[in-house]
Symmetry: C2
Subunit: 274 residues, 2 copies
């Protein structure tokens, strides 16, 4: 089964287009968890246990694990193994290097950690992304328009009357011969998301920036899916993962996901009833 | 001592502006080395032993270590510790993520692995780079114009009559309040390197792409240093590291570095005599 089908299949089964970011931040993990790799694994395992029937994907961001040194990468590997096999793993690394080197990054995310999808940076162009595409049953989301203030510095600059991020979207659509590419577009830009959704054809869009970063969930869902006609996945991280600082963190995370799923599903109902 | 001074000091001491890429590729490591982490460490340690008095820096690229899983990161840590403390470590990760996450990447390269310099990707803009700058005694090279074919896809596209990579160079120069930024510019574009050198003011330029990638050493050195008036560092990886497939690989690497140093130093002599 290819990566897009896997994403659609779990999304239908769990009635969810949510992805939960597994960004383990020692400053925010509840005090009742100990900070050893074992303690952090238990924290993640309880979060997964409490939410795996109501999310479509988990997205560990590699930065949080790298900062813990080699043991952090062992922790990441254990967490990836704990994720149920039908659930999608999006390993968020935003990697990008010349072709010869990108091969090694692709091997790391898809073979060492067993991710279904990953994220890459487009700045270095096609040959930096090709080694990822060669894993035909795996998927790659390319950064297009990100949710942070720095998106203004380059991504929104105009090249021939079109912002750079739209050039990226067009190029990525043209590279998508195997149907295993997607785009990353921040929820903080719902208007731009409408334009990108048109260029993206049938590619899935990964939409971070809802929650702690302030993106509007409803606008992002409608724009990202073209009113539920195209695939998109909404990522939430900190607002769910650290919904409670007490030992009920797993149930608090579940409640937060249920609330978001409810909002999306009632929106879907009102739109498809029209 | 800040990162730029450290680079200049070792460069003067060893009469070298060369950086040796430590890209451990199992397919190319001499057959006499065993492929366990211990065997790979011995390979790297012998290369360092044979070259540390004639290079200014070592540049491990994180991709090669990540592909070996958590053990590969332990190997990277051991290799970084083996590099003499006066020699510069450039940990090449080309990372980039939103500010909250970039903090963790910065911590990994500077604190876990003790790098003096690292590389980052500019696509996500200032807030993705700022956490690196906050390490005032550490240095950060920002990708500007890379040596691979994909540089054509976005970096060389024009925004307001100037290619994207020059906008990046200007922005990075404006962010360089603490004197701890640099640029990465491939040796494969000597003409563009002349323009970037002007914009870069006193920032050092890291120049990969000499050797296996076909960049012209002499042109790159002259353009990158503005005829030895500005700081630059030339990276060589595969052509030196795998100069011999036999057990004399360390001495072959030394000879290859000596040859390149000789070419650069005779060029410097002929230029400064003029």
């Amino acid at each position: 089964m290819n990566a897009l089908k896997k994403l659609q299949s779990i999304s239908e089964k769990n009635k969810s287009m949510l992805c939960l970011g597994l960004d383990i931040d020692l400053r925010r993990v509840p005090k009742s968890c100990d900070e050893s790799p074992k303690g952090l694994f238990r924290f993640a395992a309880r979060i997964i246990e409490a939410t795996s029937d109501i999310v479509a994907a988990y997205k560990p961001n590699m930065a949080f694990y790298e900062a813990l040194g080699p043991d952090g990468l062992s922790l990441l590997k254990m967490i990836c193994r704990r994720i149920p096999s039908e659930t999608v793993i999006i390993l968020d690394g935003k990697r990008g290097d010349i072709g010869n080197t990108a091969e090694f990054y692709a091997r790391a995310v898809f073979e060492v950690y067993g991710a279904d999808w990953t994220t890459v940076n487009p700045y270095m162009g096609y040959d930096s992304i090709r080694p990822f595409l060669e894993y035909k049953d795996k998927g790659t989301f390319v950064l297009c328009l990100t949710s942070n203030p720095g998106a203004l510095d380059f991504q929104r600059q105009e090249i021939k009357y079109k912002p750079l991020y739209l050039h990226v979207a067009h190029k990525v659509a043209s590279w998508n011969k195997e149907g295993n590419l997607g785009l990353v577009v921040g929820a903080t830009y719902p208007e731009q998301l409408v334009n990108i959704r048109q260029v993206a054809e049938n590619m899935p869009i990964l939409i971070p920036g809802v929650g702690a970063q302030g993106g509007d969930l409803k606008k992002a869902v409608i724009a990202g899916t073209d009113s539920f006609k195209k695939p998109a996945i909404i990522n939430v991280s900190r607002s769910v993962l650290y919904a409670s600082g007490e030992d009920d963190f797993d149930q608090a995370a579940r409640s937060a996901v249920e609330k978001l799923n409810g909002e999306i599903n009632s929106l879907r109902k009102s739109r498809t009833d029209q």
